[in-house]
């Protein structure tokens, strides 16, 4: 066993081989540097060891020199290397514990005595080449201490003192007197041949001339050679041990008895393993699977293997193929300009249309690696397993198919198509227009405080009447027998006889008005009726109905005897109905809900329409009750018109909508048209033709074909047929009023550009 352990390289320096056995102390020094110290101390101390020192070093001594200790060696050899280490450590500690006991100390003393001898001889051997006495001569560390005792401190601290330190006796060492100036230095440099090898000792302040040996040493070190000239780094190495196993053991001990007895522990271990193998707990190692990784996986393609899963599978969409802009040398138009580059950089990475900046390289070798390549692959991976997938049907719609098929406007003629005449003369926006029932005359009221009467066919202004304020509303009496126009100026409604047309006719009207006889008892009226006289009568004024608030709208009943006015600020009397023949006024409603925008009489039946901001209420005047409430779905109704048939109503609103109500159908709009871009100002129905028009602030008038069938089952047909432009937009206002010619398919519109236009 001993021979075996020797051949192992790990243990080689623990024991000496037989052939070239080194001295034990030497290896000890190699292994544990502490040892040298201890040995040195012992050398210095000689024989007289103090108790404490002895005990400390003895422990170390023991552990290291176990080759020397005969008792321990036998034990150690049985265990393997690590065991030895541990054991020695244990030994050390145990020895320290025992150090108090006298017996142990004695024993160790003996041992140390023995060892000391050997150690001394060892040192002598080791320091063979250098004689023992030289050791102290070369030791320069003490020398410095002797001269100056300040220690290893920066000498600048003594800069301002006359001395430079203290000698061993504590006396100051004074700086040598130096009175050399530059010149002296220079002379010295020139004259002294040893100047180059003179250095100043900072500790003492004296100049030292370096010896030849010292200079030689410096030179060697500078050249990167060893300091010692005699040292040969390349001397042939001498093996301590041979690599061959020798027949003789290293030690001379007889083999222990234990080495002949089979180990019980080993037996136990082996039996355990055998049992485990028998029971199948330990299996023989599987041979590595060397068969090739890949084979023909799709050798038999089984159509049954295609499960429902595969049919439901949503394959991941393939990555988009690169376009020209991704090329390393793209056509110049695909490169981004400076502004585009800036915009690209400022965008969020998710919002960018391209996830890279197109670049141009003059040659292929100049193309660098793409820094986000791994990122892009990674993002693709994430998309593959994290992104929710959904089957989406992409409808490929031809936009032309979306446009509804409507009857051609050509087939729906006649309707106004072109601008025929422009009636100029007003100097401010023309708020309202009205056509006489005969269709020959046109009345217009404007913000320039005039009312003008035009001949329709020639665009000639026949009369101009001055009034005291802006004309908000004007309405021609629908009864062809009367020749009267009602208009609202500030707080009053003025009934004017324009004295146009048939002389008999308008004289008859005058007579009719004059024939009025005041009743005996004057009824209490909300308004004040006065007949015009003198100059005003010559102007054409016949009657003035004074209200106490601003009048917004006036409208006639179909028969021309009643007229209704809207007075928005008048509390509960927002709507008043006047009877011309009896000069009587009455407030039909006890209470008004909401702000009344406009009112209308039904052309045939005794119905009365009142439009508030959002609703249109239909009252039966005979029964004096509310029959219907129409929901316009608009924010603010601006105007209203009724079909001559009386079953359909259109409402224009300031939120640019036009709602068509079929009264038979529902209270909700049959159709809401959003044709205009801005607020609607006026709507109108044609009396004969199935036409209606809407005027808006965007400067356009849209004429629609609105056919109402007598068959109740058929819904009205609404087709926009013409978009009429002509009015200019001034002060954000476009077309303010629109009305149709009573007999012809002509359309009049008045605008904020002070003109009235006729479209035929």
């Amino acid at each position: 066993m001993a021979a075996e352990s020797m051949s192992a390289p790990g243990k080689a320096n623990r024991k000496g081989g037989q052939t070239k056995r080194p001295l034990p102390g030497l290896e000890e020094k190699h292994q544990l540097p502490i040892f040298e110290n201890s040995g040195l101390d012992k050398d210095e101390d000689g024989g007289d060891l103090t108790d404490s020192e002895e005990s400390i070093f003895s422990g170390l001594e023991d552990s290291g020199s176990d080759s020397g200790g005969e008792e321990e060696e036998g034990e150690n050899e049985d265990d393997d290397d690590s065991g030895v280490e541990e054991k020695s450590m244990k030994d050390k500690f145990s020895k320290r514990d025992v150090k108090m006991s006298e017996v142990a100390r004695k024993e160790e003393g003996e041992r140390n005595g023995k060892l000391d001898e050997s150690d001394c001889s060892l040192r002598l051997e080791q320091l063979g080449p250098t004689p023992l006495g030289d050791e102290y001569e070369e030791d320069t560390s003490d020398e410095e201490d002797i001269r100056n005792t300040v220690g290893n401190i920066p000498m600048e601290w003594y800069k301002d003192f006359p001395h430079i330190g203290y000698d061993l006796d504590g006396k100051k060492i004074y700086k040598p007197i130096r009175n050399k100036d530059e010149l002296d230095e220079f002379l010295d440099k020139m004259e002294n041949p040893d100047y180059w090898r003179t250095i100043q000792d900072k500790m003492t302040g004296t100049d030292i001339r370096l010896t030849d040996e010292q200079i030689d040493l410096i030179h060697r070190i500078q050249r990167g050679q060893y300091g010692d000239a005699k040292f040969d780094p390349h001397e042939p190495s001498v093996d301590f041990f041979t690599h061959e196993t020798m027949i003789h053991p290293v030690t001379n001990h007889p083999a222990h008895k234990r080495s002949f007895i089979p180990s019980l522990i080993e037996k136990e271990k082996v039996s355990k393993l055998v049992h485990a193998i028998k029971m199948g707990w330990i299996k023989p190692r599987k041979p590595r699977d060397d068969t090739s990784l890949f084979y023909d996986l799709w050798a038999q393609e089984d159509p049954n293997a295609i499960l429902g899963r595969h049919k439901m599978h949503v394959p991941a969409p393939k990555l988009k193929l690169p376009g020209h802009e991704e090329s390393y040398n793209p056509p110049p138009e695909y490169l981004l300009t400076e502004e585009e580059k800036l915009a690209w950089e400022q965008q969020e990475p998710e919002e960018r249309k391209l996830n890279f900046l197109p670049q141009k390289f003059s040659s292929f070798r100049a193309v660098p690696a793409f820094s986000r390549f791994i990122h892009e692959r990674f993002e693709r991976c994430l998309d593959l397993y994290l992104c929710p997938r959904q089957r989406k049907m992409r409808v490929n719609v031809d936009p032309e198919d979306l446009i509804p098929k409507l009857p051609k406007p050509k087939d729906l003629q006649p309707f106004p198509t072109t601008q025929a005449l422009v009636y100029t003369g007003h100097t401010n926006l023309v708020r309202c227009i009205s056509v006489s029932p005969s269709g020959q005359w046109l009345a217009s009221g404007s913000d320039d405080c005039t009312v003008r009467f035009w001949e329709v066919s020639t665009a000639r202004c026949m009369r101009t009447i001055k009034v005291e304020g802006a004309v908000r509303s004007i309405a021609w009496n629908p009864n062809p027998v009367h020749c009267l126009v009602a208009l609202t100026v500030d707080q009053s409604v003025i009934i004017v006889n324009p004295c146009l047309g048939d002389k008999l006719l308008y004289n008859a009207t005058d007579q009719l008005i004059a024939s009025f006889e005041k009743p005996e008892e004057e009824p209490v009226q909300p308004v004040e009726w006065t007949a015009a006289e003198g100059e005003a009568f010559d102007e054409g004024f016949r009657l003035i109905i004074r209200h106490n608030k601003l009048v917004k709208q006036v409208t006639w009943h179909g028969k021309g005897d009643y007229l209704a006015t809207v007075i928005p600020d008048n509390g509960n009397a927002q709507v008043l109905i006047h009877q011309l023949s009896k000069r009587r006024s009455q407030n039909p409603f006890r209470k008004n809900k909401g702000m009344v925008q406009c009112v209308l009489f039904h052309p045939i039946r005794p119905f009365f329409f009142v439009a508030t901001q959002r609703y249109v209420r239909v009252y039966n005047l005979l029964k004096q009750e509310l029959t219907k409430k129409l929901l316009t779905n608009c924010k603010w109704v601006s105007s209203m018109a009724i079909h001559p048939g009386g079953d359909n109503v259109i409402c224009g609103s300031y939120d640019s909508r036009l709602a068509w109500f079929d009264l038979d159908l529902s209270t909700k709009p049959y159709k809401v048209l959003r044709h205009h871009k801005k607020a609607l100002r006026g709507v109108a129905f044609h009396r004969r033709y199935p036409l209606f028009a809407s005027a808006s602030d965007d400067g356009t008038v849209i004429v629609c074909h609105g056919m109402v069938y007598s068959d109740l089952l058929q819904n009205p047909l609404i087709v926009p047929v013409k978009l009429l432009r002509g009015h200019e937009i001034t002060r954000d206002l476009g077309v303010l009023d629109v009305t149709f010619h009573p007999t012809q398919p002509w359309l009049f519109s008045s605008g904020s550009d002070c003109t009235i236009r006729l479209f035929t």
């Binding site: 690169p322 110049p332 292929f364 994290l386």
Partner: protein, 581 residues
């Protein structure tokens, strides 16, 4: 009303979906394992049609899996392997802690591994399915093959990726199935057609990656694990279909062997160099049965009417393809050391060319620079000192442009030091209304056989220039004339003031009938659009917006190009003037 109370969310869509966390709990897997399983088995979340219904009334953002998918995962053998692996790791850690090295060794020997064969068969029941999904697999493997052998992932994975990609490239060479190549700033795109499937992959430029830190390499590694298995099986099958040996063997040609033998022996061990020789892509592969290349002509069936035309077209396409396959046949290329060897060798060999490079650059060089029969040398430097007379020195882009153009382009544009023509993407198919760069038009003309197009345009341009110059002169003359006329007019006017007012006959405005009708139609359309329903109008506006945007982009590109060309022309003129002065 009798019957059980109907509870909410117990029928309908809600029962078909399961949230991710619930699925994870059902499978008793950690999130990482669940993710890995999803990646391997190809399970992805689904977006329900009515998210709120499925989410039991909540609108919280959740990912949903189909409950059927999760049930499908329940019986997966890989799940058990995951659990085994967890146990294995625990045991191993314990053994390490106790420093029981023999146990560690034993455990490592018995490390649980799983195979993905069945997963691949399950996900891709037919071979064509597998081919269809090969894009990502190839891109990923090509990326992993360029990774350094240290750090990010296992060396074995990288080596396997390299092996598989080399095998695939060799197959593409052998089958000549490459169609398109595109040098982008991201990398090189390749497109091949295998069994009628278009497969596109991207290869990064061979530089060291600066590995980003915000990327989860575990996810990528899991994907690569699957992709390598898939690619391996696909490769096997592809090699089999061409009667090639798998794993690939190089064809032994006796005369070449003698040449190369000596320097290869110096190079490396046989087993190591074999892989590299394969990767060099310069030699062809050995076949199981040495096939004599007689193409089996497909039987022709008499076709009638419309079919005949279709057939003819198809035949034409076939012919072009066949021609493209033999594009570089009979050419001998030599690659200078500064050009990317692998991609060029791959492309040239795919189209039947012979290619070689400097012996010191890579193993597998077939002939040296001094070979007299070399027709093209590919160089990517401004100039070359020593040039042979009987060969073209061209830049690498020529090869790629030729492949994409399906013809041999004139080499003059690609000589050394010449500014290259733009490199266009072969993947863009312009529809009518799209912007087509002029280079593409030129290419199309060349493909149609109008080789003179370019010369003509050039001469035209020059003529134009001349014309412009003369025009300038003309303009001067015209201006002079105008001035004279104006003077005359003024004098006449002065005279006219003295004359009496005269009524001239009005001219009849001739209305263009077609224009009028067009205007009418436009108005009709505008009116009809007014009557659209809200929903349809929205859709219509959206479509029209898209169309308009497209037109705008096209116009923008065209304008940019025009500005650029004008600038070039102006510069040319300037330089001409400078020269003349």
């Amino acid at each position: 009303m009798g019957g059980l109370e109907k509870k909410k969310h117990e029928r309908g869509a809600a029962t078909n979906y399961i949230t991710r966390n619930k699925a994870r709990k059902k499978l008793q897997l950690s999130l990482a394992d669940f993710r890995r399983l999803c990646i391997l088995k190809g399970i992805y979340p689904h977006e329900p049609k009515h998210k709120k219904k499925v989410n039991k009334g909540s609108t919280a953002p959740r990912t949903f899996y189909l409950i059927k998918d999760i049930k499908f995962l329940l019986h997966e053998p890989i799940v058990n392997k995951f659990r085994d692996y967890k146990v294995f790791v625990r045991k191993l850690r314990k053994a390490y802690g106790k420093a029981e090295w023999s146990t560690v060794e034993r455990l490592k020997d018995n490390k649980p591994v799983y195979k993905l064969d069945h997963v691949i068969k399950e996900r891709y029941p037919t071979f064509v399915d597998a081919l269809r999904d090969l894009d990502d697999a190839l891109s990923m493997c090509f990326l992993f093959a360029t990774f350094p052998r240290t750090g990010k992932c296992h060396v074995q994975t990288i080596q396997l990726c390299r092996r598989l990609t080399v095998e695939f490239m060799n197959f593409v060479i052998a089958s000549r199935s490459l169609h398109k190549v595109f040098l982008s700033i991201k990398g090189i795109y390749y497109q091949a057609e295998i069994l009628g499937q278009l497969i596109t992959w991207i290869v990064p430029y061979s530089f060291a990656h600066d590995h980003p830190t915000d990327v989860d390499y575990r996810v990528m590694a899991t994907f690569t694990e699957f992709f390598t298995t898939l690619l391996g099986f696909v490769n096997f099958r592809l090699y089999q279909s061409l009667n090639l040996l798998y794993p690939p063997k190089l064809e032994n040609k006796p005369e070449e062997n003698e040449l190369k033998q000596d320097d290869e022996e110096k190079y490396a061990m046989d087993s190591e160099s074999y892989m590299e020789k394969l990767a060099a892509l310069s030699a062809s592969l050995a076949r199981v049965v040495s096939s004599n290349e007689d193409d089996v002509m497909p039987d022709e069936f008499p076709a009638d009417g419309e079919n005949a035309e279709l057939l003819e077209e198809r035949q034409k396409e076939q012919q072009i393809l066949e021609k493209q396959k033999k594009l570089f046949e009979g050419m001998k290329f030599f690659l200078n050391r500064e050009v990317p060897r692998e991609s060029l060798a791959f492309v040239i060999r795919c189209f039947g060319g012979k290619v070689s490079w400097d012996k010191s650059l890579c193993i597998g060089a077939v002939y040296p620079v001094t070979d007299e029969t070399i027709t093209h040398q590919i160089v990517d430097r401004p100039n070359l000192d020593k040039q042979f007379i009987n060969r073209y020195y061209i830049q690498p882009q020529w090869v790629f442009d030729c492949v994409n153009g399906k013809t041999l382009l004139p080499v003059e544009d690609y000589f050394l030091g010449v500014t290259l023509p733009p490199h266009l993407s072969p993947f863009v198919e312009e529809k009518d209304g799209d912007y087509i760069p002029p280079e593409k038009l030129k290419l199309l003309a060349i493909q149609r056989g109008e080789s003179t197009y370019e010369c003509e345009t050039q001469s035209e341009e020059e003529e134009e220039e001349d014309a412009e110059e003369s025009e300038d002169e003309d303009m001067d003359e015209i201006e002079k004339q105008d001035e004279e006329r104006l003077k005359n007019m003024e004098t006449q006017k002065v005279k006219g003031k003295k004359l009496n007012v005269k009524v001239t006959a009005g001219t009849v405005k001739v209305e263009n009938k077609t224009q009028a009708s067009q205007r009418e139609q436009a108005e009709e359309k505008r009116l009809a659009i007014m009557m659209m329903k809200k929903k349809e109008k929205y859709l219509y506006n959206k479509i029209m917006f898209g169309k308009k945007r497209k037109v705008r982009e096209t116009n923008k590109l065209a304008a940019k190009r025009k500005a650029h060309d004008d600038m070039l022309k102006a510069e040319k003129k300037k330089s001409k003037k400078m020269k003349s002065q």
